[in-house]
């Protein structure tokens, strides 16, 4: 049997110590009226060699040039050292650092992660991560509702937010009767239409979500949106791409005093596409809101000899202490993936991350020129980061089918070119469409 070390002699000896003679007797408290499982439909076990062949046979084709799809998951180069270190058993097979003295490695990594995320977003604090970008947004909205003492239960959510995030938000918020008001976009710029905001100046709105860049790849007028929210005492939730924040104005600086809560998908920071996960969601906020934050937090402290150390803190917010009164039901974070992101950011440094952002933008600009020569039309005029919506005169299969999410955009594809693309990749892609 794989992974079980017991010899028959071990089993007999252990049964004897318990006072039994048959292993089946271990289940003698289970009522006999309960039937035994029938697993006859399951195959017999494979050994590791057979399993390897099966996994290789089923693996999708590896295309180093990628497929120019972004739409919420982005192909970036990952230095070899990242996953080599993440795969060390001491990180890979540890659990939540409940015993701080035996978990200083994981705890310090998270503390460094919290520091870099807060720095990158120009915010005061970051938590230790959430499941992914979409659940981070849902948790950010719930947090904003709590900050408004649950008196205001309406949230403004632009249609330029990733439709996949919007449907997750709907699943979570519909359980609690929170109203989501979707904001329209300006068909010319591809960004949230500011004019419509005037109808929401009635002190009933808890929060405004501001994506940067938005799902079209376009840059939103974040300063104006933040200014409107601040004027109307609406909390601002920034939803940002972390790579882009090495190039674009960080949420903590929007309209000078900054967003209140920042969230997003951490996958671009050293996490492979891997068919959709595991990724991680990040969540940052202003210091004064930290007690309403969901998820784990690591704090610095000292031991009785004054030595510095790290530990989970503010656990009184969490479900294992507060149970039904917890801020969230969240129990795990995406610890291992955060280790990857922390190593990635440490290897690249800020300059390296900024180069990734610049090169991605540059490649997308190059590709745009090539596609325009093929008489494809860029749909929106707002500045973009590393994705563009292109309209073609006939249906094509390259990039992501954004017409499926926005039927009003006919024959349109969302196309992404990150730093991983060579000049030749861009030319070949433009020729194919």
């Amino acid at each position: 049997m794989p992974f079980i070390p017991h010899t028959e002699a071990d089993i007999s000896e252990m049964l004897k110590a318990i006072g039994l003679n048959d292993i089946k007797q271990l289940f003698d408290e289970i009522p006999s009226s309960l039937k035994l499982a029938d697993l006859s439909s399951e195959p017999l076990g494979l050994n590791e060699m057979e399993m390897s062949r099966l996994m290789i046979a089923r693996a999708p084709e590896f295309k180093p040039q990628g497929d120019f799809i972004g739409a919420g998951a982005y192909e970036h180069f990952i230095p070899a050292a990242v996953w080599q270190i993440v795969s060390r058993g001491e990180f890979y097979t540890a659990y939540t650092p409940y015993q701080a003295e035996a978990s200083q490695g994981s705890l310090q990594v998270i503390y460094e992660y919290q520091t870099m995320m807060a720095e990158l977003m120009a915010m005061d604090v970051s938590n230790a991560s959430l499941y992914d970008g979409s659940t981070a947004l849902a948790e950010a909205i719930l947090m904003a509702i709590r900050l408004k003492n649950e008196k205001l239960k309406k949230v403004l959510l632009p249609k330029t937010v990733n439709p996949r995030y919007r449907r997750v938000v709907k699943t979570v918020l519909s359980q609690l009767d929170i109203e989501i008001i979707e904001l329209n976009y300006d068909v010319k710029t591809g960004t949230t239409d500011l004019v419509q905001l005037s109808q929401y100046e009635d002190n009933t709105i808890a929060a405004l979500v501001i994506p940067q860049p938005n799902f079209f790849g376009c840059l939103e007028p974040v300063d104006q949106l933040t200014a409107w929210a601040q004027k109307n005492k609406v909390l601002t939730i920034a939803l940002v791409n972390p790579t882009a924040m090495a190039l674009l104005k960080a949420p903590g600086e929007w309209n000078d005093t900054g967003a209140d809560i920042v969230c997003g998908e951490g996958q671009p920071l050293g996490v492979p596409l891997a068919s959709g996960g595991p990724y991680f969601g990040f969540l940052c906020c202003k210091q004064e809101y930290v007690r309403q934050m969901p998820g784990r937090l690591v704090g610095k402290t000292s031991d009785e000899h004054g030595r510095e150390g790290y530990t989970l803190t503010l656990q009184a917010r969490e479900q294992h202490i507060r149970r039904a009164k917890a801020k969230s039901n969240i129990c795990t974070n995406q610890g291992l993936v955060v280790v990857a992101a922390t190593i990635y950011m440490s290897l690249l440094g800020f300059d390296g991350l900024r180069e990734v952002a610049l090169k991605s933008h540059q490649n997308t600009s190059e590709l745009l020129k090539l596609l325009e020569k093929k008489s494809a039309k860029k749909l929106f005029v707002a500045p973009f980061f590393h994705e563009i919506v292109m309209q073609f005169d006939k249906p094509i299969s390259a990039g992501y089918d954004i017409s499926a999410d926005y039927p009003e955009l006919k024959n349109a594809r969302l196309i992404c070119a990150t730093e991983t693309k060579t000049q030749q990749d861009l030319i070949v892609f433009a020729e194919l469409v």
Partner: protein
């Protein structure tokens, strides 16, 4: 030392430099003008920094890790290597289905294995953790009652021994939580359950074997009572390892459940995640399962969406859950096969009962001495605290000195000074005997030199940490000490 403190201005890991030109087509008001503090290090410095940090961790690969309720079994290396083959590693989740058939087939086969061991009708792999599976399951119960026009069922029953996520998930779906007490022998108190049941009952959330490490013997009776009252039964799969391949929640009378693949199917816990918490349901609730799910038509696999599942509670995450975790779980399940599953439950139970008997012999007090252990069991240090002032926490810390990770402590919350011990099936008899020896030595220390135990650990990188200070002074990030030396607002 933190990475930031090892940093030197303008140092780079040069292998990752890119040739770029400055941006021209984005107006200046969109651009960043401040420089965040990231460490500036060479590649070797980074590698050494994180390698050294890893050595400050206890882990399954380095230590016995009997953390009750967490099923810290061996995480096969093959699962990690095979799930990260280049074809899987670089695969975009929105790639066309025709290019993703192998990925979908792996998920489909995992779905089949989960149905086989749970006795349920249909399963969704979408939930990213047990707690998200609970949320989904409870939302499905809510949808079921609403579809029947039954809006009065606002109460979710939860035994007092349940995981904290159970009541928290129920509240997140808008339910009122009602706690049900348990008996001195660890079973649900049927009298109290009877009183709690009624037209307001939406359902009950149970873990079986329970968090007391004993099998709920009245489960069939409970199922009958709850169903007769019009409620549904949710199975928290945290302890499925105890009965894997032997008994199935579907046969016990449960309607919906989640299982923790990072426990039962050996995927890594990674310092606190990622996990995966697939949710499975019987005929009554299958149509409400979260999206997406993999289905098969002829020889082709495809994603089910709201088009063919209009009653679904919806999507729980951006793509399809923690795909890489699911891939590892599939590999584990396929390597076990139909003969391997029941062997897991048998040996996990054998290890727990062996450990329990041997610790009892040393003198430790069992929380449920008359019961058979499931895959885990509880000892209580209440007598040791009364007599010697040594708490469960102290025993846990002293175990670290002997090179063992501590068991879960102070959970379940209604057993005073408890240690919840789960050895799992992948630990050898020799390892268990070493643990028993350490526990025997600690028992002697408690009597002879309680201070030694109360001041443990003595061999870890730090002594006991001041948690009150951590919460009161709340230092959640590094900040440069000499702000004036850093160009805080320098142009890039």
């Amino acid at each position: 030392m933190l990475s930031f403190e090892k940093s030197a201005q303008n140092r780079r890991a040069n292998a990752f430099k890119l040739n770029v030109s400055e941006v021209k087509d984005i107006p200046a008001n969109y651009l960043r003008t401040t420089r965040p503090h990231f460490p500036e290090l060479a590649e070797l410095q980074v590698v050494r920094h994180f390698t050294q940090l890893s050595r400050k961790n206890f882990s399954i690969d380095t230590q016995f890790y009997p953390l009750g309720s967490c099923t810290m079994k061996y995480n096969p290396r093959a699962a990690h290597v095979l799930a990260t083959l280049p074809g899987y590693f670089h695969h975009h989740p929105l790639s066309p289905e025709k290019d993703s058939q192998g990925v979908l087939e792996n998920f489909y086969d995992l779905q089949q294995s989960i149905l086989a061991v749970t006795g349920m009708k249909k399963v969704s792999l979408a939930p990213m953790a047990g707690a998200q599976g609970e949320f989904a399951g409870v939302a499905m119960i809510k949808a079921y009652h609403r579809d029947r026009g039954d809006f009065e069922r606002v109460e979710m029953l939860v035994p007092d021994a349940a995981h904290g996520t159970n009541p928290a998930s129920a509240v997140q779906c808008g339910f009122i939580v009602k706690e049900i007490p348990t008996t001195a022998e660890g079973d649900v108190n049927l009298e109290e359950l009877k009183k709690a049941l009624g037209p307001k009952t939406a359902g009950i959330m149970l873990t079986n074997p329970s968090t007391f490490g004993v099998f709920e013997r009245q489960i069939q009776e409970i199922a009958k009572m709850v169903h007769e009252a019009g409620g549904l039964l949710y199975y928290d799969g945290a302890n499925l390892n105890a009965v894997l391949g032997e008994y199935r929640p579907g046969d016990m009378g449960f309607d919906v459940m989640h299982m923790n693949l990072h426990k039962t199917f050996a995927t890594p816990h990674g310092g606190g995640g990622p996990g995966a918490g697939p949710v499975a349901a019987n005929e009554k609730l299958a149509k409400y399962l979260p999206l997406p799910m993999v289905a098969k038509k002829g020889e082709t696999f495809y994603w089910e969406t709201e088009k063919n599942c209009p009653s679904s509670i919806g999507y729980l995450n951006t793509f399809m859950g923690n795909a890489g975790v699911l891939m590892r779980a599939f590999i584990y399940a396929r390597m076990l096969g139909r003969n391997g599953f029941p062997r897991v439950a048998q040996i996990a139970t054998l290890n727990a009962n062996y450990l329990m008997k041997r610790l009892e012999k040393i003198g430790y007090q069992l929380a449920f001495p008359k019961r058979r252990a499931s895959h885990e069991f509880i000892i209580t240090a209440k007598n040791l605290k009364d007599q010697y002032g040594v708490r469960a926490l102290d025993i846990a810390k002293r175990l670290l000195d002997y090179g063992f990770h501590a068991p879960t402590i102070y959970f379940p919350i209604n057993v005073p000074e408890c240690l919840l011990i789960e050895p799992t099936e992948t630990e050898s008899k020799e390892e268990l005997d070493r643990f028993i020896d350490a526990m025997a030595k600690i028992y002697e220390e408690i009597k002879a030199n309680p201070e030694l135990v109360k001041t443990a650990p003595h061999t870890c990188p730090v002594r006991r940490l001041d948690e009150v200070k951590a919460a009161r002074e709340l230092n959640l990030r590094w900040r440069p000490e000499q702000l004036s030396l850093i160009e805080g607002n320098a142009n890039l």
